[in-house]
Subunit: 347 residues, 2 copies
C-alpha cells in the first residue's frame, strides 16, 4: 500500500471532535512568526520533537538555569469576552520573565501550551503574535509549544494557557536576599493594572451583582474602557533591572498572587521585616474601585492585588536615589529588624 | 499597622472561588515529595520564584538544551472518571522524556502546570506523587510547578495538565536522521496501550452510543478492565535508548499523535521512505477493538493511534539484531528509496 498523504484519511477523528487538518492548517505560518525571536543559539528544529537551544554561556562562570512555569488565571475570561487573544499571551511571557528576573536571571527561551476544546484559528494566531512579540522584546527565543484540542474539556471559545521560561544567571550573582540588611531601601516599580493576579475577585466585584459594570463602560479615573484597563499587559521589568550596575540589587520581589504581603517575605532574611509606607504612592483608581465596590478589607487588597506596585527592588540607602532615578521607581519602604514579614502602614 | 499572618484576611477572594488557604494547605508536603527527585544540580529554591538547576555538563563538548512541552489530552477524562490522578502525571513526564530522547537528549528537569476550577487536595497529591515517581525513574529533577485555581474555567472535578522538560545532548551526538540510509532497519518498541494519543476517538467509539462499554467492563483480549487498560502509563523508552552503544542509533521517532504515518517522516531524509510491514507485529487487542467497533479505516488507525509501537529506532542492518535483543524490540520495516514518507503494507 502506498503511503497516504498526511491527514487524508482523518475522518473518524474529526467526527470525535479532533480536527487534525484544522490543526495542521492553523500551524502553517508559525515558523515566520517565531523565527523572529530566534538568535544564533536556536538550532533548526529537528523533526519538531523538541526545541533546540545551544546556550552561549561566555562570561558566565557557573551557569545556573532558572525556570518558571505559569498561567494567566481568569484574566483569560476578559480576553474571551473581548475577543482579544494577543495580550494574554504577552502577559504570560512577561510574568515568567519577571519571575526569574528577581533571581537575577536573563531569559533564554520560552515554550507555550494552549489547551482548548476546538482550535479557533484567529485566536491561535493572535496568541502566537503575542507570544512572539513579548519574547522578542524580552530577548527570549520562542522555541516550542503544544496546542491541544480536547473536545469536552473547555467551554466553546475558551482555552487555558501555560508557559514556561528558562533563563540563566551566574551562580555568584544570584539574588537570594542574603545581602539585605537593616536600613536598606525598598523601591517600588509601578504596575499598569492588575497584571495577572486577582481576576476572579475583580471580575466578581466589578462584573456581577446589582449595578455591575460592563467591559465597555468608561469609569471615572480610568483612561480606557474597563475591559481595556483589565486587559493591560503585565509589565516586563527585566530590562530595567538588568540595566542597573552589577551588585546594586540586593533582592527583588515580583508582586504576583499574594501581593506585597506574601511576595516580599520570599526574599527577606528571617530577622528583618519590610516596612511599607502605603502613603508613599497613589493606589491606582482601578484598585480603589474594586476595594470600594467590593467592600474589601484593605489588608486583603494588599494580599490579592499588586495595588500599583508590580516589582520591588531592595537596595542600600547609598544606591537608592540613583536606582529610583534609573528605574523611575518610588521609595515605598525600608528594611527594619523583625521576623521576615511585611508591615504596611498608613493605609 | 502590623503585618498580618499570611492568608488571615483572605475572605472576599475565597467567596470569589479562590481559596488561598486551601492552596497553601495543599502545597504543604510538596517538598518531601519533590526533593527525592533532586540531585546535586538542584539548588535550594530561593523564595520559590524560580527553579534553580546548575547543570553538570562535564564530558559534553557543546551542550544543546532540548525542551518539549506537552499535555495529556482527553486521557484526563478517563482519570476523572476513575478518580485516579497519579498515572496521568506519569504519562506527562514520560511523554516529554520520550519526545527529547529521539533527539538523543537525556532529561535534566521538569516543571508541571495544573489548571483547575477548584483544587482537590487528594487529586493534587496523587498528581504530585505521579510527577515525582516518573521524574525519579527518569533521572529528572522536578523543580517547579504552578497550580492555578480558576473558578468557572473547568468543570467540577476536572483539570488540565501541561508539563515541560529540559534535557541535554552533545551537539555532535544529536540524532537528526541525516545518517539514515537505504537498507537501514526500523525497529519498533512495544507500547503498552494508547499512551497519550487518540483518546477523543477511543472514548467516542468505546464509551458512547449503543452497546457502549463501561470503564469497569472486562473485555475479551484485555487483561485488565477497560478503564485500567485505557489508563496504562505511557512508557519511558529513554533508559533503553541510552543504554545502546554510542552511534548505533541513526534516528528515532516517538509515536504520538499522527501515529507511525506522521511521526516517522519527522526523521526521514527527503529521498528515503520508511516501509513498514504491519504483519511483523500483532496489533494489540485494544486497538483492534477500537477499529472494529468504530469501523475505522485502517490507515486512519495508523494515523491516530500508535497501534502497539510506541517508539521506533532506525539502525544499520549490521546492528539490527543486537539492538532488537537489547531493547526487546521487533524489526518492523526498512528504509527504502522514496520521498520522505511512510508506506504501510500487509494490514
Amino acid at each position: 500500500m502506498s503511503a497516504p498523504k498526511a491527514a487524508s484519511k482523518i475522518k473518524a477523528y474529526a467526527k470525535a471532535g479532533v480536527d487534525v487538518d484544522l490543526g495542521n492548517r492553523i500551524k502553517s505560518g508559525i515558523h515566520a512568526k517565531v523565527s523572529k525571536t530566534h538568535g544564533p543559539e536556536v538550532l533548526g528544529k529537528i523533526g519538531g520533537f523538541g526545541g533546540l537551544f545551544q546556550p552561549n554561556f561566555a562570561g558566565i562562570e557557573k551557569p545556573v538555569l532558572v525556570s518558571s512555569i505559569d498561567g494567566v488565571g481568569t484574566k483569560l475570561k476578559i480576553a474571551f469576552a473581548l475577543g482579544r487573544h494577543d495580550t494574554v499571551a504577552q502577559d504570560l511571557v512577561n510574568h515568567c520573565v519577571d519571575d526569574i528576573a528577581v533571581i537575577g536571571a536573563r531569559p533564554l527561551f520560552f515554550l507555550d501550551y494552549i489547551g482548548s476544546g476546538k482550535l479557533d484559528p484567529q485566536a491561535f494566531h493572535q496568541m502566537l503574535d503575542g507570544f512572539a512579540k513579548a519574547c522578542q522584546a524580552a530577548g527570549c527565543a520562542l522555541i516550542g509549544g503544544e496546542t491541544a484540542q480536547m473536545p469536552g474539556m473547555y467551554q466553546p471559545g475558551e482555552y487555558d494557557l501555560a508557559g514556561v521560561i528558562v533563563g540563566v544567571v551566574d551562580r555568584a550573582k544570584m539574588l537570594d536576599g542574603s545581602r539585605i540588611s537593616e536600613g536598606d531601601v525598598i523601591i517600588g516599580l509601578a504596575s499598569n493594572g492588575l497584571h495577572t493576579n486577582g481576576y476572579s475577585l475583580a471580575r466578581k466585584v466589578l462584573l456581577t451583582g446589582r449595578g455591575a459594570y460592563k467591559l465597555d463602560d468608561r469609569v471615572d479615573g480610568l483612561k480606557l474602557t474597563l475591559g481595556e484597563e483589565l486587559l493591560r499587559v503585565h509589565k516586563n521589568y527585566q530590562p530595567l533591572m538588568a540595566s542597573l550596575p552589577e551588585g546594586v540589587l540586593k533582592g527583588a520581589a515580583h508582586i504576583t498572587g499574594g501581593g506585597l504581603l506574601d511576595n516580599l517575605p520570599r526574599v527577606l532574611p528571617k530577622n528583618l521585616n519590610a516596612r511599607i509606607d502605603a502613603s508613599s504612592w497613589t493606589v491606582p483608581a482601578l484598585f480603589q474601585l474594586i476595594q470600594k465596590r467590593g467592600k474589601i478589607d484593605p489588608l486583603e487588597m494588599f494580599q490579592v492585588f499588586n495595588m500599583g506596585i508590580g516589582m520591588t527592588l531592595i537596595v542600600s540607602p547609598d544606591d537608592a536615589s540613583a536606582v529610583v532615578k534609573a528605574t523611575r521607581g518610588k521609595t515605598i519602604g525600608k528594611i527594619v529588624p523583625g521576623s521576615g514579614v511585611v508591615q504596611i502602614s498608613s493605609y
